[in-house]
């Protein structure tokens, strides 16, 4: 009697969260998978011709889609390693100093609380061809400084460079925070022992710091790979309108997904293309997460 009463009470406490999750998380998850296989799905009427692989055939035959896939992979494999290494170096540096540590820590955390769209627009201004700061600095170095980074006709390479710089800039704070708290948890005795043996600093870093920090590195790697696969807002922030993004061929998978979703060709099944792209992304992220976990199981020192 008491237990069943308690049971009911628990479900009452859970009800608000549970109902919302059922409607906006659990149901959508299954429904989106379903939509991915509904051909010519019209989301306003709910009509579709049949179940099949038509949406996948459509996106896999679409050159723009493959462009966004290769862009996304490029961003993932370039920006994640760079930002992990940079933030690790910064965290180690921060951990080794006393004066000004708090000041630096606060500064390095600033990009985290800022608005991706807002600061992306600032980056676009800084990389402006004629009156941007970056080209001015390049000019000071005596180099040709008429580089069109983000304007129309900038080309893929330059646009991608700016996008990568911005993604790394944005990604640093979270990683530094995690690494720094990890470093502060490492027993000082390891370092004292190394000091007595007068071990070179590089060796201390590769043989003590990195292995002892490996759980944090694994965690950061998993979360940042997932984040980088979903890159989208930075692209909109830097390049703005769809025409500008297409002009540079700089769209990502998620960009393709939202472009399909808001495509006016509702009757032809544009929502189905979006769902297929989402499922594709989901599977890639799942595979990557498993690979990551597998590697960390072998390599991570606990």
């Amino acid at each position: 009697m008491v237990e069943s009463k308690n049971n009911l009470k628990a479900w009452l406490y859970l009800a608000p969260a549970l109902i919302l999750m059922a409607i906006f998380i659990f149901y959508p998850l299954f429904n989106t998978i379903l939509i991915a296989f509904k051909e010519k799905y019209n989301y306003m009427t709910g009509e579709f011709t049949q179940f099949g692989f038509g949406n996948f055939a459509f996106i896999f035959r679409n050159q723009i889609f493959w462009r966004t896939v290769s862009n996304t992979f490029f961003i993932v494999f370039v920006s994640v390693p760079i930002s992990i290494m940079l933030s690790l170096l910064i965290a180690v540096g921060l951990n080794s100093i006393k004066p000004l540590q708090k000041v630096f820590q606060t500064i390095f955390f600033l990009p985290y609380v800022t608005n991706t769209i807002a600061i992306g627009m600032v980056f676009a201004v800084m990389f402006n061809q004629s009156y941007g700061l970056i080209n001015t600095i390049i000019g000071w170095l005596g180099l040709d400084n008429a580089i069109n980074w983000v304007g129309y006709g900038a080309g893929w390479g330059r646009a991608m460079t700016v996008l990568l710089i911005y993604s790394v800039w944005e990604a640093l704070p979270f990683k530094i925070l995690i690494f720094l708290s990890g470093l502060q948890g490492i027993d000082k005795q390891y370092y004292q022992a190394a000091q007595i043996d007068s071990t070179p600093r590089v060796r201390v870093f590769t043989r003590i710091t990195v292995p002892l920090l490996s759980p944090m590195i694994a965690y950061v790697a998993v979360t940042s790979f997932i984040g980088a696969f979903k890159e989208y807002t930075s692209v909109v922030a830097l390049f703005g309108l769809d025409t500008s993004i297409r002009d540079k061929g700089i769209g990502t998978i998620v960009w393709f997904l939202y472009r399909s979703l808001s495509d006016p060709r509702v009757g032809e099944g544009s929502a189905g293309w979006a769902a297929a792209a989402a499922l594709f992304l989901f599977v890639i992220i799942l595979i990557f997460t498993f690979i990551n976990l597998y590697i960390s199981k072998k390599r991570v020192h606990y």
Partner: protein
């Protein structure tokens, strides 16, 4: 004698190494800190320049005249007062809602016993690994069919629940000793009263972290609001910022664009500087931006 010399030499070389190390470390950190700060600096000085000055080649590194008029002008460019009102309204309502659903669910998972508790909790956690885009597509369709496009409901209701915050608070609730709960039971205190009078006050720092992170997340939200509420009267601040100054190449009116950007960014920076402790505590356990 020679041994003493050696020790002295060694000490000296250590000192030189230490100084070199400090120069290297501070130099590196300093350069990185400048890279982090420069965009903020550039934003603020551009916001204070006249239009003519923003287009000067080479650009000035400090405004010739502090042109504060840019701020009201930028706010007039589009209906920014409306965007700010929308954002604050949506942010506050969805934050209050989230905190309430989170406290109840976390309490059930942390203190109450019921059938299927572990399975349900695992199921909740598993959803955190699924990219949100999977949900967005169906949610967009749901909202469109309900006729909620361009309404506050569409901006608020899907977001008054968060698995991550439930997890965070549940962990915190779990740390509160069970004896307190049993003692309260003996005294005849009901669960609800116990939750409000004992658990919520003890877990207040976590609840404050959740509140701040959620508010920041609402302020910065872009993808979903852009999808479901893009009419001029329903726009939120980020979306308004992106749209208001996007003429063909974003070339003209940089001074106004940067003034609006400053208006969006500065409140966040102030919140961060004053509530640093809560934000960093919350973030170090999360990894979810916004």
């Amino acid at each position: 004698m020679t041994e003493k010399m050696n020790v002295k030499n060694l000490e000296k070389s250590y000192k030189v190494e230490l100084i070199l190390k400090n120069i290297l470390v501070y130099g590196f950190l300093g350069i990185m800190a400048i890279i982090v700060v420069v965009p903020f600096y550039w934003m603020i000085i551009s916001a204070l320049k006249t239009q003519a000055e923003t287009e000067m080649i080479p650009p000035t590194l400090f405004p010739q005249l502090l042109n504060f008029q840019n701020f009201p002008n930028a706010m007039m460019q589009a209906d920014f007062a409306r965007y700010i009102y929308n954002t604050i309204f949506v942010g506050v309502v969805s934050t209050v809602g989230t905190v309430v659903t989170t406290i109840f669910a976390a309490f059930a998972f942390a203190r109450l016993e019921f059938k299927g508790k572990n399975i349900l909790f695992t199921l909740f956690l598993a959803t955190m690994m699924i990219p949100g885009e999977m949900m967005v597509i169906t949610n967009y369709i749901t909202v469109a069919r309900l006729g909620w496009i361009d309404t506050y409901q569409a901006l608020i209701i899907p977001f008054v629940v968060s698995v991550f915050y439930i997890y965070l608070l549940r962990q915190n609730f779990k740390q509160i000793p069970n004896e307190l709960y049993l003692a309260a039971k003996v005294d005849g205190t009901g669960d609800f009263k116990y939750l409000l009078r004992v658990m919520v006050p003890i877990a207040m720092p976590t609840i404050i972290s959740i509140t701040i992170l959620k508010l920041i997340g609402s302020w910065n939200a872009y993808i979903w609001p852009n999808l479901v509420a893009d009419s001029d009267s329903m726009r939120l601040i980020t979306n308004g910022l992106r749209k208001a100054f996007t003429d063909d190449q974003g070339r003209s009116q940089i001074h106004l664009q940067m003034a609006a950007t400053t208006v969006v960014t500065v409140p966040l920076l102030l919140v961060f500087l004053f509530l640093r402790k809560y934000i960093m505590q919350g973030v170090s356990r999360s990894g979810i931006k916004g």
